[in-house]
Subunit: 283 residues, 2 copies
């Protein structure tokens, strides 16, 4: 990879581990850290990691690229801890971007930091789930700070392009607002529905395909999602509020046995899908 | 089919049409009606229908079996209109069962009526979507009235068994309460989420696989769902209320930035899925 001889990856789970493996595959020397010593041992053994960083992340200053791949609520603390060399790109892989961008600015890393949010991963987690090629054809949102240099942004683009991903630059606040709607709210609804069905004594095996689709996300890591929800509380709160308002209107229409409002309610959602299908999207 | 020489099918859409085709395939003489004359013509041409009933459903008295396959809000009115012969089984195929069972009792058909709810069908509708074998391996809930005779219940079981389905007898009120949770609430959530995303200017094509799963149901027929919601308003209202309470609690936890409550929220849903996976169900 152009210009990157060594990279430091902090956190060797599914995403961080896959970044490490891809970089190692491309001839980059990979330094890395994980709070779990067994993960570090496995990564060194598997060849995705060449050198372990110290518990205080000593050695980061040797890297041309620093990738933070820890939970979103832990990332700002890690960022404050590191002292990368001048010209090194610092990025992360978290699902929320406002707080990490702010933390980078506060830590004096505004010039060299670009937030990354790769839309990749699955229900599995940990180093053992990581693999090369995870980011091939994935979308990656890039969120610069108010001071990111054009050179740093270009480095970030080049990094993800080398890993096969398509990048899209977006304001961090706009990113988090959008993710609250398209990702965090759906996750919260699947979770709430699953809990509610469980309380009713119903099991997932009792459900038809529609309700299964509606609760599949509930199986995702609660630790990860609690961290994302906490970090994106402001925008997710607004999205949950908007959903509560819609359900309140539905509740009223049901209690009033108002056929016309019920019809409008279902028609609005149907129209949204139908319009999109008309644009050539079938799934 | 044992004992059934002729059947009257009222409503020749996806479900009614598929019942008609299956019965005709099994040597039953099929009489039928649809409010759309073109549908009746197509059904007569395709061989799924042998004889058209009059607009007042004259001719129903000749049938050993009457199947109502009209929207759930229209079914009680149709039931009041017909005069089947003594010993003929009367059933329906609606997604809600309390109101049709009550209507059968009120119409003096309590002895010979058994409600049926086949869990079959897809996003398509109309005679052209109907097909033989639609009910093979499907689950069918049977809901007797307070006066259904053992003979009538056995006829209903035999009917669906002949079409390849597995039947399960359930109280009509229990059925509607359960469907509100496992089917009608998920439908309402998918619809509300789709509308909300549309209002945010987002298209279905912008979504990842998780959010697509969560909005797929929104594409279903708004007419059908408005009718189901209206008919099952009491139970769906309770389910929507329970969901609103969960979202209110989540909203509070977000606004309080309460990491512990957020974690509990996501853990509860995760546990429900994990427990079920443990029981051998993977999807």
């Amino acid at each position: 990879m152009t210009g990157v001889r060594s990279a430091a990856v902090v956190g060797l789970g599914l995403i961080g581990g896959s970044v490490a493996r891809d970089l190692a595959d491309r001839g980059v020397r990979v330094l890395g850290y994980d709070r779990d010593p067994a993960t570090v041992r496995d990564a060194l053994r598997d060849g995705g990691l060449h050198e372990a960083l110290g518990a205080g992340l000593e050695g980061v200053e040797k890297a041309d690229l620093v990738v933070l791949a820890v939970p979103v609520t832990a990332a700002p603390g890690v960022l404050r801890q590191i002292r990368p060399h001048a010209g090194a790109l610092v990025t992360d892989v978290g699902s929320t971007k406002e707080s990490i961008v702010r933390a980078a600015e506060d830590a004096g890393l505004g010039d060299s930091f670009v937030g990354s949010h790769p839309l990749a991963g699955d229900h599995r987690s940990g180093w053992s789930a990581s693999r090369t090629g995870l980011f091939r054809d994935a979308r990656v949102f890039l969120t610069p700070t108010s001071r990111t240099t054009p050179a740093a942004l270009e480095q970030a683009r080049a990094l993800w392009a080398a890993l096969g991903a398509r990048t899209e630059v977006m304001d961090a606040t706009e990113h988090d607002r959008r993710m609250a709607a398209v990702s965090h709210l759906p996750q919260a609804l699947a979770t709430a529905l699953g809990s509610l069905l469980g309380e009713e004594g119903l099991r997932r095996a009792d459900l038809g395909p529609g309700a299964r689709d509606m609760t599949r996300l509930a199986g995702s890591s609660p630790e990860m999602w609690a961290a994302i929800a906490a970090d994106n509380a402001r925008h997710l709160s607004a999205a949950v509020g908007a959903m509560r308002a819609r359900l309140a209107a539905l509740h009223d229409a049901l209690d009033a046995r108002d056929a016309e409002r019920l019809r409008s309610f279902f028609e609005e959602g149907h129209l949204w899908v139908a319009t999109d299908f008309g644009s050539g999207q079938r799934q």
